[in-house]
Each structure stands twice: as C-alpha cells, then as structure tokens.
Symmetry: C2
Subunit: 142 residues, 2 copies
C-alpha cells in the first residue's frame, strides 16, 4: 500500500472508532493507559475527548502533555491498529466545552456545561503509525 | 466492592483476555501503545508476551523497562478495564523461549525456538488499577 492508501485506511479507523486508548506519562515517569470515548475528530490531526477534571490522567497531562491515542480493530478482518502520537491541549474555554456538550452530559456533569469537573482534551497529532497485515507504516501529521 | 472482590474480577479479566495493550516510553520520552497477544500469565503478577526482536517496542524497553498492560472488556456488560503497571524483563533464555513456543510459531520465527528474531517479554506488575461502574480501585501487586 502506498502512503495515500495507508492514510485513507487510518482515517477510516479514526472515524469509525468510538473508543480509543489514551497513553500518558504517570507521576513516576512510566506509561499509563486508559480507555476513553472519542467525542470529535479533525481528520486525523486532532482528536477530542471529554473527561473529568478530577481524573488522574488530567493531572498527568498537566505535568507532561506528551500523549498518544491508539485505535484498533480486532473484532473483524483485517486486523488494524493506529497510533497517533502528539501533545494534549487541556481546554476549559466555552468554545471547547460547548463543542463536545450533548444531551445526557448532565448525568456526568450535573452543573452543566460550566461544571468545574468537566474538562476537554484535544490531542494534536504529530505522527501516525498504522499496522495491518503484519507490517507497520509511519507518517507525519497533519 | 471490597479489595478481594476487585482483585478477583481483575484476575478474571487477565485470564480471559487474549489481547492487551502494551504501553512503553518512546525514544522522545512520550508514551506509545501497541496491541499484543497475551501468551501466558502468572496470576496478575506477571504477564508473558512473545514478540519480534526487531520490533520497535523491544528497543524502547531496552532503553526504559517501565511499561504497562491494559486489559479491557467493552464488548459486553459490565464494562471493565485493568491497568497493570511495572517493568518488563526482556528474555531470550531457553526456558523463556520454550515456555511460549507452540505449534505454528515457526510461521513467524522460521529458524525455530532459537530464531534470533524471537524475543520474550515478561511484565512484572507492581501496581494494578481496576475500573468498573465508573469507579477506580488501585491495589499493590503481587
């Protein structure tokens, strides 16, 4: 597959994934992983996640914004995996809050769109790695 | 749930997971993730993976052995996630090679159990974090 075809397949995987795995650097410098819901995408160049301000990975990202998101399809053939590496912007501005807010969010954030426990994360991807058929192809982003 | 019950559920998740997500520290210090096949387990205190010596995460683990494995069940209720954090031993000794070797491995390692591209990873877990029903419980290991 040429790079254009790889990017197309990687983008498809990002677009159809509701769940991804967020990698962060823990307080001792070791890696940590947590499953997150993908709330919005800007192609492959940025991915938006809403989360609790009080959650551990927000504190980790405040200390070190380097992060990655891993997307995977292993429930159907062909198996595919995509790693997006970059940095996370921690957003609490009205534009970001409103961008991801939808009906039902008040179940998690009872004070509404300005609930202090509501935080938006935006991973800005710098590099992608796509695995399929036992091979890996890396590419720069955006 | 008390800690004994949490540990029991976490162990069940490790035992029935064939796939897990390996977190490592990349060459620039940022986190990386890759899906791996779980080859063997020692309860929750150690997890065995076979991999290619030439694969990128082996080089990363040679530089920095701090790693994690994330196990997840999101295809059925109740959703559950488990993070095991610790250090990876890179093993190329006969005992480790033979422990994970099985019929069909020669497809990946044509030179057999002593193929130089065959490497065994053993994550020694120091700490677990289990998520279920929106709450997280941490515990020390083993």
């Amino acid at each position: 597959m040429n790079e254009a075809k790889i990017r197309e397949k990687a983008l498809e995987l990002v677009e159809r994934s509701n769940i991804a795995f967020l990698g962060t650097i823990g307080s001792d410098g070791g890696p940590e992983i947590k499953a997150v819901q993908v709330a919005d995408r800007e192609g492959m160049s940025a991915v938006w996640i809403s989360t609790n301000t009080s959650s551990e990975h927000v504190g980790q990202l405040e200390r070190d914004p380097r992060a990655c998101l891993y997307f995977v399809q292993y429930d159907r053939e062909p198996w595919a995996g995509l790693l997006l590496r970059g940095r996370v912007e921690i957003r609490r501005d009205p534009e970001a809050r409103e961008r991801l807010w939808e009906e039902g969010c008040e179940k998690y954030y009872p004070e509404g769109v300005y609930d202090p426990d509501y935080t938006v994360l935006r991973l800005i991807a710098e590099r992608g790695k796509f695995w399929q058929f036992g091979t890996k192809v890396g590419f720069d982003l955006p």
